[in-house]
């Protein structure tokens, strides 16, 4: 189980719907299968234990800065998902 699958299971489902959807897309369309496979590979690698630990350590400080009015925006495509 990848970290992402663990996160999806935390959200309450044993089967990650987004992963299943990507597999279905790849199976339905040979043209889209390379893109769907690339996405699945990215998803499997994207969230690592080290990365999650870094996020966990950063959050309290960032929350404190927000409450103090110090904003530090970043441009992340997942914000528009």
């Amino acid at each position: 189980m990848t970290i992402l699958e663990a996160l999806m299971a935390w959200a309450g489902r044993g089967t990650p719907p987004l992963d299943g959807l990507l597999v279905s897309v790849g199976n339905l369309s040979p043209d889209l299968k390379p893109t769907a496979d690339a996405w699945l590979a990215k998803l499997g690698r994207a969230v690592t234990p080290e990365g999650l630990a870094e996020v966990a350590l950063a959050l309290p400080g960032e929350a404190r800065d927000i409450l103090r009015g110090k904003l530090a925006p970043e441009d992340r495509p997942s914000d528009f998902a």
């Binding site: 309450g12 489902r13 800065d65 904003l71 530090a72 925006p73 495509p77 914000d79």
Partner: protein, 164 residues
């Protein structure tokens, strides 16, 4: 004469394309808004599977490198409903990577007709990908979410165009 004009116009358009395509990446503003559409898949042990095509707007307020407030409003074209959501998303991947990121969080989702979905809190995972460096405003997006009251999963896969 017409042929010469057509060739000249085609060459002019082709030469203008790089300037159009190389739109500068959007700056890291606090607020952002994007227009888009996506397919929706719902399932659940006791609920009928509903699928739809939604179009609408997504907005974000990026407060810190990892923390954003996110929201959306949309219309389901197949089943003709309004829906919206709002909540918090935390980026779980490299925040400096503007081409691909994964965020986890929770949103409150509502529908104008509960026949299509309950008003409930939904933990979610959102994925965004800018596949082409030349067109940074274009994003492929996907989400997976789970209704804490309905016990239904909701997945989406679609595209966004960042307006601001």
């Amino acid at each position: 004469m017409r042929r010469i004009f057509t060739i000249a116009a085609s060459l002019a358009l082709l030469s203008a394309w790089p300037a159009f395509a190389q739109i500068a990446p959007p700056p890291a503003n606090v607020f952002g808004i994007a227009l888009g559409a996506h397919g929706v898949w719902l399932d659940g042990a006791s609920a009928a599977t509903v699928s739809d095509i939604e179009g609408g707007l997504n907005a974000r307020a990026s407060l810190s490198p990892h923390i954003s407030l996110v929201g959306s409003g949309g219309y389901g074209f197949v089943n003709e409903y309004l829906t919206g959501a709002g909540g918090l998303r935390i980026t779980a991947t490299d925040v400096k990577d503007r081409t691909f990121s994964v965020g986890v969080g929770i949103q409150y989702r509502w529908y104008d007709d509960i026949a299509y979905g309950l008003r409930e809190w939904m933990p979610d995972v959102g994925v965004g990908w800018r596949p082409w460096a030349d067109v940074p405003n274009f994003i492929i997006s996907g989400t997976g979410a789970y209704g804490m009251t309905s016990k239904r999963a909701r997945a989406t896969l679609g595209a966004r165009f960042v307006l601001y």
